[in-house]
């Protein structure tokens, strides 16, 4: 991975976990994305910043095609996840979502126990293939909760409803339930925006620990967060990518005036 790259328009190589080419997206008649070319490198944390409505979340939600839930969305261009065109005919949406986990803005645990939440995806995917023993489930459960630094806090409450946890714990749980499925990419849509400062710090710290094992693409409104918790940073404005580079470079010496203006808080 070349460190010096600092602009859009990457060539197509296998180095990217997510790669979009000429991605346009319309909500009905409204065009939300314009020719988005984005390359998200494997194994690092890439953050996306930009003012509200600039299309960050839209890009994120396109990467696992959850955007199609809306029904009135149309796209052109292509999105490659781990080398596969996710809009291709031979791609199974279930497999895409298995490889690409997603964390939402508001923690959204299912109204079932902590245990069932963590094992929900695991059971979904593994049960299609084989019978899973209880002991293996327990192992998977503990390992996932340990990875998100939640095991000690909830190990005595595994059979209680997940909706009874604090927001911070809920958000960690929502990340934990992705891990047993063994995704390669984690998409996070402002994962800390519903949390208080302490919760934000705890979740950020946890995300940083996942770095390396997973490719993480994180949308944030919080520039300080992007700055301290990401390797690369993408700045979007009005449905286009303005700048994409190493985080410290983008914040210290932005190439475009729009980026500089946004970072300095002149709008957004």
């Amino acid at each position: 991975m070349a460190d010096g790259e600092s602009s859009v328009g990457y060539p197509s190589t296998g180095a990217f976990a997510i790669e979009t080419r000429g991605l346009n997206l319309w909500y009905g008649d409204f065009q939300a994305l314009f020719d988005v070319d984005l390359g998200v490198k494997k194994g690092i944390i890439t953050s996306m910043i930009g003012p509200s409505g600039c299309g960050k979340t839209t890009v994120l939600r396109t990467c696992n095609r959850i955007i199609e839930r809306l029904g009135y969305v149309r796209t052109t261009g292509s999105v490659y996840v781990l080398g596969h065109d996710i809009f291709g005919d031979d791609v199974e949406i279930v497999q895409v979502r298995k490889q690409v986990g997603m964390v939402f803005q508001r923690p959204n645990p299912l109204p079932i126990s902590v245990r069932d939440n963590v094992l929900f995806g695991f059971r979904l995917h593994e049960a299609r293939l084989r019978k899973v023993a209880r002991a293996e489930e327990d192992e998977v459960l503990e390992s996932a909760l340990r990875q998100v630094l939640l095991w000690d806090a909830v190990k005595d409450r595994l059979d209680r409803p997940a909706t009874g946890l604090s927001l911070e714990e809920q958000q960690k749980l929502c990340i934990a339930r992705l891990l047993p499925v063994k995704p390669e990419v984690l998409l996070m849509d402002e994962p800390c925006s519903a949390l208080d400062p302490a919760g934000t710090e705890a979740v950020e710290e946890m995300i940083w620990q996942l770095r390396g094992d997973y490719t993480i693409l994180i949308v944030t409104h919080n520039m300080a967060q992007a700055r301290r918790a990401s390797d690369e940073c993408v700045f979007m404005l009005l449905g286009r990518i303005v700048e994409h580079g190493r985080t410290e470079e983008l914040f210290l010496a932005p190439e475009h005036t729009e980026t500089a203006d946004y970072i300095e808080g002149r709008y957004g």
């Binding site: 696992n64 959850i66 839930r69 029904g71 279930v94 497999q95 979502r97 298995k98 986990g101 997603m102 939402f104 508001r106 959204n108 645990p109 299912l110 109204p111 079932i112 929900f120 995806g121 979904l124 995917h125 929502c174 339930r177 992705l178 499925v181």
Partner: protein, 295 residues
């Protein structure tokens, strides 16, 4: 300074009107219960033999030596209701699932309106359908001598109960937050997995309430059952046997009784039984629904 101007009085009057309106439901339901009980009480405390009432099928209130065995009527009501539920529970839960989870836009709106219109069809019309359409149809299809019985009444009652069950079940499904569906889909669940593993478990109470209200509706329905069931006192052994329902018995016999007599009292005793059963069913449904809201 006295502030009792016109607005103050209007306010007071409105308060009273709303209050009276609010408690009238309670007054009426208590009133109905008191009235039915009062009329039936003399009979319950006097000639009624509880053992005979619940175990004998001999309902001969007009005989010289009258007997009041309600077992056949109870079994009649239960069999027709049970049959109706066999039909309407899958039908209406399926319809509710389709409207809530699959149908979009125009289809959805049209279906919702149609289902609500179905609920407004008078029961005598359903009874007419049972007598004039289902009756000959059942005779022809199954080659039986009579098409009025458990099958006919059950089908008609099932179709009658389906709209209300569909509406309530759909409300329950719609009440499941969309974030649950989104979370499950993002984890790679297919549409059916989302429905069976997330939506239905989350709306379990509402769906149960819908079924219970359907049962209550079946129990209390009179005219359609009277017309489609054959109205013969009988313990059914096949779906084609005629039966008689509790409600239908009251409706058909009450006009011919001596007011205050034993026959009159016995019919009110049937009324008490019906009232208690439907009250318990509705109360259970209500408690179950409250269960969801608390969560």
């Amino acid at each position: 300074m006295d502030r009792r101007d016109a607005a103050w009085y209007i306010d007071k009057v409105a308060q009273w009107v709303v209050f009276v309106g609010g408690i009238s439901a309670i007054v009426f339901i208590v009133g109905i219960f008191v009235f039915i009980t009062k009329e039936g009480l003399d009979f319950v405390l006097g000639p009624l033999n509880l053992g005979e009432f619940f175990t004998s099928i001999a309902w001969r209130p007009t005989s010289n030596n009258p007997t009041y065995g309600a077992l056949a009527l109870i079994v009649g009501t239960a069999s027709v209701t049970g049959f109706a539920m066999l039909l309407s529970v899958p039908l209406s839960l399926g319809a509710a699932l389709f409207i809530a989870e699959f149908a979009t836009g125009k289809t959805r709106e049209v279906l919702k309106v149609l289902v609500e219109m179905l609920a407004a069809i008078p029961s005598v019309v359903w009874g007419f359908v049972g007598m004039s359409i289902m009756h000959p149809l059942i005779m022809r299809i199954f080659d039986v001598p009579l098409g009025l019985g458990v099958l006919n009444a059950g089908l008609i009652l099932g179709l009658m109960a389906a709209p209300i069950m569909t509406t309530i079940a759909e409300d329950a499904l719609k009440a499941v937050p969309d974030t649950y569906r989104e979370a499950a889909e993002a984890l790679g669940a297919t549409r059916w997995e989302v429905i069976f593993k997330v939506v239905i478990p989350a709306s379990r109470n509402g769906l149960l309430a819908a079924v219970l209200l359907g049962v209550g509706r079946g129990f209390g329905e009179t005219m359609a059952v009277l017309m489609a069931s054959g109205h013969a006192i009988n313990i059914p052994t096949s779906p084609f046997d005629s039966v008689r329902a509790l409600t239908a018995t009251i409706a058909s016999e009450l006009g011919d009784t001596v007011r205050g007599g034993d026959h009159w009292g016995s019919l009110f005793t049937l009324g008490i039984l019906l009232f208690v059963v439907t009250f318990v069913i509705n109360l259970t449904a209500d408690i179950v629904v409250r269960g969801i809201r608390k969560k």
